[in-house]
């Protein structure tokens, strides 16, 4: 059963090893709150996970990107809070990382 992973903490505050281990190929990810810093992982310990999530269906919460002044790299997708709700309805399970 696929899951929606809701990642709400910055790359420096989440166990990247656990994310790598627990996120399956058919899962969907949404980065919210400080999790949107995953959009910029060039010089962070999350680089290995970034390689993985870019192959998956993943979204960044628009409001939280705007609040932090983060520009997305090409190919990254955003949703607003309604889109976040729609994702939670689409996937049978939600897993929060905070």
């Amino acid at each position: 059963m696929s899951s929606l992973h809701i990642i709400a903490k910055a790359p420096s505050s989440v166990s990247v090893a656990e994310l790598n281990a627990l996120v399956d190929d058919e899962d969907v990810l949404i980065f919210i709150e400080d999790g949107v810093y995953f959009a910029r992982t060039e010089c962070s310990p999350a680089a290995s996970f970034a390689q993985k999530f870019r192959q998956l269906e993943c979204y960044f919460l628009k409001e939280d990107l705007a609040a932090r002044g983060i520009d997305l790299l090409e190919g990254m997708q955003t949703v607003d809070t309604r889109g976040f709700v729609a994702l939670s309805a689409r996937l049978p399970r939600c897993v929060s990382w905070y």
């Binding site: 400080d34 409001e63 949703v79 976040f84 709700v85 729609a86 309805a89 905070y98």
Partner: protein, 142 residues
């Protein structure tokens, strides 16, 4: 740019339980949960129960006073709960140690005031489990 086309709408209305662990003052989680709950209702889904746990019980404080240019998150929860007739439960053991008490708890512990919005009830984890058994989705905010 927003790509909502890739997030298909739910086939029908779902029942959600939201577990709120974040205090309104110390992290963004409470505000995220509030925005999520508002959008959920606007989109036609149902909230089976809001359950405030740990530091999240501070979202039910009727004694919070915020600067005028900041959102009063407990007041916003109260308004949302009242306007939509939602079930909202505050974990008793988390609440009383943080000074969140209703009239009954205030009397029981001989306190001078109640601090919990009347839109939420003081309850136990059993009510979270009960809500989960009636819900299609559970989301946790911290």
């Amino acid at each position: 740019m927003t790509f909502l086309a890739n997030t298909p709408k739910a086939s029908g209305a779902l029942r959600y339980t939201l577990l709120i662990n974040a205090a309104p003052q110390s992290s963004q989680g409470a505000k995220t949960a509030l925005r999520f709950a508002e959008s959920l209702l606007q989109m036609g889904h149902n909230i089976e129960r809001l359950f405030f746990y740990g530091d999240g019980v501070l979202n039910a404080s009727s004694l919070s006073v915020m600067p005028q240019d900041e959102i009063n998150i407990p007041a916003a929860w109260h308004a949302l709960i009242e306007a939509n007739g939602l079930s909202s439960v505050v974990c008793v053991s988390s609440a009383i140690r943080r000074g969140i008490v209703d009239t009954a708890e205030a009397q029981r512990h001989e306190l001078y005031a109640a601090s919990c919005y009347t839109s939420s009830e003081i309850g136990g984890l059993g009510q979270l489990i009960e809500a989960l058994s009636n819900s299609d989705r559970m989301l946790s905010f911290g």
